[in-house]
Subunit: 180 residues, 2 copies
Amino acid sequence: MAIKEGLRPGGRSARVQESVHRATRELLEEQERASVTVPLIAARAGVTPSTIYRRWGDLSALLADVALARMRPDSEPLNTGSLRGDIRAWAEQYLDEMSSEPGRNMMRDVQCSQAPGYCVAILGGQLQIILDRYQDNGEVLPRLDHLLNLIAAPTVFRILFSNAPLQIEELHELIEVALR
Amino acid sequence: MAIKEGLRPGGRSARVQESVHRATRELLEEQERASVTVPLIAARAGVTPSTIYRRWGDLSALLADVALARMRPDSEPLNTGSLRGDIRAWAEQYLDEMSSEPGRNMMRDVQCSQAPGYCVAILGGQLQIILDRYQDNGEVLPRLDHLLNLIAAPTVFRILFSNAPLQIEELHELIEVALR
């Protein structure tokens, strides 16, 4: 199921989406995710289960849609006045958010969506905003794909597949490698 | 559910495990993973569903166990005669295997196991074998965690969260960064 973008804000369709998303978020906070079902979400959102099935297809597609919506950043990356400072601030916040239990669950849910690539697009968009700030400074800027591969990738990989997330010193070291 | 290691080879318990693993692998090859169920696996393996539930807990724990067993390499990394050559050969094979549909599914299943860290332990073990070959050569060897963060992490990240896996040129470039 594709992600529903560009809905008319305030329309009936947008209201259903907002209500279902909110119900899902609330239930995920209140109980074990394994016990969250489409009928439960429907009841909380005040819609019928078939509305959810028609619109999202199944529970994993709905969870993926909710996870992607939560990943959309609500603000621009912090502007610290230097490229290194901006990247550090962004990367530290990203590591912090993704290491949390909700962060890990978001990453797993997103993989079940039909558009997991959207995740890299969001991260890339944030990092591009940072790069754009310094493009007239005469500095040699790192490539965007380098920042994704050397900073975002190890952050996510270690959280999902290792016993411990990156330590802050390792993160800083990777940033230096990316800026070299 | 913990991974079952160290079972007496050939014992009844080992035979049940082998039979259930084989049935799971066959069913995953024959049909959509969403339609693979514990009763189906049990019927194919010639055991009762309760044997599976008792031993593995639930389907996702069984799938994770099967995925981890498949990840265990069946041979040492290729010895090409040079550190760079060995790492390239290993990384190219890893990228190739993980980009496949079964590879992607394995990575997703492993995340549902109680021991996702085992995944990094397996990769690290393979890379350590390569490093050990060259430790008396006088070369400055890269750190193991650097190889994992700069080569394995982007390979996995791009497959799971991007629209396209790493290109072979990007992989080679990352290997150069790791060897610097």
